[in-house]
C-alpha cells in the first residue's frame, strides 16, 4: 500500500474510532444526565404534591375535631365546603383528588368521604363504595401511617397516585388520594429517550463505519500485496527475458556455428560416399581395359617363351597396351572432371549433361542389363553449376540402378527424359522399380533417410541433391510415383 493511501485509511479509521468513542462517552454522560433530570423533575413534582396534600391535610384537620367519617356524615355543608376546597387543586395534571376511608368490615372496600371532582359522570357520592386496583398500597398507608406514591402507566401517559394518610390521634382515619399525570415528565423522558436512541444509532453507525473502513483497508491491503507480488513476478520475468535477450545473440551464433559444422560434416560424408562411388565406378571402367592389357601381356609372354614373338607383333601388342593405358587415363580424366567442384556457373544444355554422364555410367548400367532409355528433347540452355548438376543426375540414376538390382526387376529400365516447358527446362529420371512407398515418400529428401541396406546407403544422396538443385542452382527437385516406378523431376530455368 502506498504511503499516502495508508495515511488516508489511518486518518479515516482514527476519525471513525474517535466518533465512536466520543459517542460512547457522550452516551454515558447523557445517561447520567437523563437520570439526574428525571430524578430531579420527579422529586420536584412529588415535593409539590406532598406540599399541597399537607395543605389539604391542614384544611381538613382544622375543620374536623375527632372523627372524620362521623363529622362529614353529619355535616353536609362541611362536605360541600371541603369538596370545594379539594376542587381548587384539580387541574389537567392533578386530575383526581378525593378522600377515602376503609370500611371496618372489609379491608378491601373503601368508600368516598370527599371528592373534588366536578365532572358529574365521575363524581362519587358520599360513602360510595370504592375498590381500588392497588388495594395493597392503600392498606400499606394504614399500616405504615405515612405517605406513599406508586406509578401506574396507562397508554396515554404516566400516572402517579399519591396517598396521604390523615392522622388524628395517631390513627389513620382517612387517606387523601391524588392521581396526577406525569405527562410533562413523560415528554421530557421521551425526548431524552429519542436523544438516547440517536446516540445509539450514531455509535452503531460509527462501529459499522469502522468495520467497513477496516474491511476495505484489509481488502485493499490484500489487493496491494497481490499487486506487489504480481509486479515482483513480472520483474523477475522481465529480468529473465532481458537475460535471454542478452544471451540470445550468442546462442544464435552458437546454433549457426553448430549448423555450419553439421553441414560441413554432411558434405564431408557426402564426398566420402561420392568418392566410394567414384572408386567403384573407376574400378568398373578399368576392369575391361585392365583385362585387355593382362591378356595382351599374357599373349606376348606366351609367344616370347615359345620364341614366336616377332617384331611387328611386339609393336602391335605395345600399341594395344598403350591404347588401353590411354583409355584408363581418359577414364580418370573423365571422373576427375565429373567430380571436380566448380564454383563458377557455365552455360550448358541437358543433353551435354546427359552425354557426360553416359561416359561414366554406361558400362555399369550395361553390366547390370539395365536398358537406358533417352528422350532428350530439351533445347533450352542453362546457366548453372554443370558439375553439381551432373552429380545430381548421377545420384538419381545410381539410385534407380540400385533399386532395379535390389528388387531384381525383369526387363529393367532407366529413362531420362528432357523437355522444355515455357522458360523452364525439365528433366525426368524414372524407372520401373515399382515406386516409393507412399508412407515414406515425403521423407526421402530428409538427411540420413535411406531405404538401402546400411552398408550401401548413407541417406545423404537425395538430401544433398535437393540442396544443390533448390539452393545452389535455384531450381526444384520433386518426386512422385508413376505407373511403373518413381519419377524424379528436376526443373531449372
Amino acid at each position: 500500500m502506498n504511503k499516502s493511501r495508508f495515511k488516508l485509511f489511518y486518518i479515516f479509521n482514527l476519525l471513525a474510532l474517535t466518533i465512536a468513542i466520543m459517542s460512547l462517552f457522550l452516551k454515558l454522560e447523557f445517561d447520567k444526565t437523563k437520570e439526574n433530570i428525571t430524578s430531579v423533575y420527579s422529586s420536584a413534582h412529588l415535593q409539590f404534591v406532598k406540599e399541597f396534600t399537607d395543605n389539604i391535610d391542614t384544611i381538613i384537620q382544622k375543620s374536623i375535631e375527632k372523627n372524620i367519617y362521623k363529622e362529614l356524615q353529619e355535616d353536609y355543608d362541611l362536605r360541600q365546603k371541603l369538596e370545594e376546597d379539594l376542587s381548587l387543586f384539580i387541574s389537567s395534571t392533578y386530575k383526581y383528588i378525593y378522600l377515602l376511608d376503609r370500611t371496618t368490615t372489609h379491608n378491601k372496600h373503601f368508600r368516598f368521604l370527599l371528592d373534588g371532582s366536578k365532572i358529574s359522570s365521575d363524581k362519587s357520592e358520599f360513602l360510595e363504595s370504592y375498590e381500588p386496583l392497588e388495594v395493597s398500597q392503600f392498606n400499606r398507608v394504614y399500616k405504615e401511617k405515612k405517605a406513599i406514591f406508586f406509578e401506574h402507566k396507562d397508554i396515554k401517559s404516566l400516572w402517579i397516585t399519591y396517598l396521604h394518610p390523615l392522622l388524628i390521634d395517631e390513627q389513620v382515619q382517612a387517606v387523601l388520594v391524588v392521581d396526577f399525570s406525569m405527562k410533562s415528565y413523560q415528554t421530557i423522558s421521551d425526548s431524552l429517550n429519542d436523544f438516547h436512541t440517536t446516540f445509539m444509532q450514531v455509535i452503531i453507525f460509527s462501529i459499522f463505519l469502522i468495520l467497513t473502513i477496516l474491511w476495505f483497508s484489509f481488502m485493499d491491503k490484500k489487493r496491494e500485496e497481490a499487486k506487489e507480488r504480481a509486479f515482483e513476478e513480472l520483474k523477475q520475468e522481465s529480468k529473465k527475458v532481458f537475460m535471454l535477450n542478452e544471451t540470445l545473440e550468442e546462442r544464435v551464433k552458437e546454433e549457426l556455428a553448430k549448423n555450419r559444422e553439421k553441414d560441413k560434416q554432411l558434405l564431408q560424408q557426402s564426398r566420402l560416399a561420392q568418392m566410394g562411388e567414384m572408386i567403384s565406378m573407376i574400378a568398373h571402367q578399368w576392369r575391361q581395359p585392365l583385362a585387355a592389357i593382362t591378356a595382351t601381356s599374357s599373349g606376348m609372354n606366351f609367344k616370347a617363351q615359345r620364341g614366336t614373338l616377332k617384331q611387328d607383333a611386339i609393336l602391335k601388342y605395345t600399341d594395344n597396351i598403350t591404347s588401353y593405358a590411354q583409355h584408363l587415363s581418359h577414364t580418370i580424366d573423365d571422373f576427375r572432371d565429373f567430380f571436380k567442384p566448380t564454383k563458377e556457373k557455365r552455360v550448358v544444355s541437358y543433353t551435354e549433361i546427359v552425354d557426360s554422364l553416359l561416359n561414366i555410367i554406361k558400362s555399369s548400367v550395361d553390366d547390370k542389363k539395365i536398358t537406358l532409355l533417352l528422350e532428350l528433347d530439351a533445347t533450352n540452355k542453362l546457366d548453372t553449376h554443370a558439375n553439381e548438376l551432373k552429380q545430381v543426375l548421377l545420384n538419381l540414376v545410381k539410385n534407380a540402378e540400385d533399386v532395379l538390382v535390389e528388387k531384381n526387376i525383369q526387363e529393367p529400365f532407366i529413362k531420362i527424359k528432357t523437355y522444355d516447358k515455357d522458360f523452364f527446362s525439365v528433366m525426368e529420371v524414372s524407372d520401373n522399380g515399382g515406386g516409393i512407398d507412399e508412407k515414406i515418400i515425403e521423407n526421402i529428401f530428409d538427411p540420413y533417410f535411406s531405404t538401402k541396406e546400411r552398408k550401401d546407403g548413407t541417406g545423404l544422396g537425395l538430401y544433398m541433391s535437393k540442396i544443390i538443385i533448390n539452393e545452389h542452382c535455384g531450381g526444384e527437385l520433386t518426386v512422385k510415383n508413376g505407373e511403373k516406378g518413381a519419377i524424379f523431376t528436376l526443373i531449372l530455368s
Binding site: K95, Y96, Y98, K108, H109, S117, S121, D122, S124, E125, E128, S129, Y130, E131, P132, L133, D154, I155, W159, V177, D179
Partner: protein, 137 residues
C-alpha cells in the same frame, strides 16, 4: 410519522383490550348467575352494546321481554313492561336508584368498579355465585 402510527396502533390495541376486558367480565358473571351457557341480554346503552355484540356467550335480543337480564341505566316506557326483570346498571347512581339492579359495572377515578346487591338477588330469586360474593356491598 412512524411514531404516530405506533401510538395509534398501541392505542387501538389497548382500547380493544379494554373492550375485551368488559366483554369477558360479563361473559364470566352472567352465565354463573343464570346457570345458562347462553344468556339473553337486552341493552339500551350504545357503548355497552358495542362491547358485547361480538360475544358468543351472550345474545343481544331486540325485545326486553325475551331477555334474561336488562343492561343499562334507565329504560323507556315500552321497556317498563320488563321492570320486573333483573337489571345490571352501568352507573353507581342508577344502581342505587333501581330496585331490580342486581349489580353494576362502572368506572370510577379511572378504575373499574363492580358491585352486587344481595337484596336484589333475593328479590329475583337468584343466588350470588361464591366467586362473586366478595363484591357484595
Amino acid at each position: 410519522m412512524l411514531r404516530f402510527f405506533l401510538i395509534l396502533s398501541i392505542l387501538g390495541y389497548a382500547l380493544s383490550a379494554e373492550d375485551n376486558y368488559e366483554q369477558k367480565l360479563y361473559e364470566s358473571i352472567l352465565p354463573k348467575i343464570f346457570h345458562k351457557s347462553n344468556v339473553q341480554i337486552f341493552i339500551n346503552n350504545s357503548e355497552a352494546k358495542k362491547v358485547l355484540k361480538m360475544s358468543t356467550i351472550l345474545t343481544i335480543v331486540q325485545k326486553c321481554t325475551d331477555a334474561d337480564i336488562l343492561i343499562g341505566n334507565s329504560f323507556t316506557k315500552e321497556e317498563s313492561s320488563c321492570q320486573k326483570k333483573p337489571s345490571f346498571a352501568l352507573d353507581y347512581r342508577a344502581y342505587k336508584r333501581s330496585k331490580n339492579a342486581i349489580g353494576a359495572f362502572y368506572w370510577r377515578k379511572g378504575r373499574p368498579q363492580i358491585t352486587f346487591n344481595k337484596d336484589a338477588f333475593e328479590h329475583h330469586k337468584l343466588t350470588i355465585p361464591k366467586s362473586l360474593q366478595k363484591y357484595v356491598q
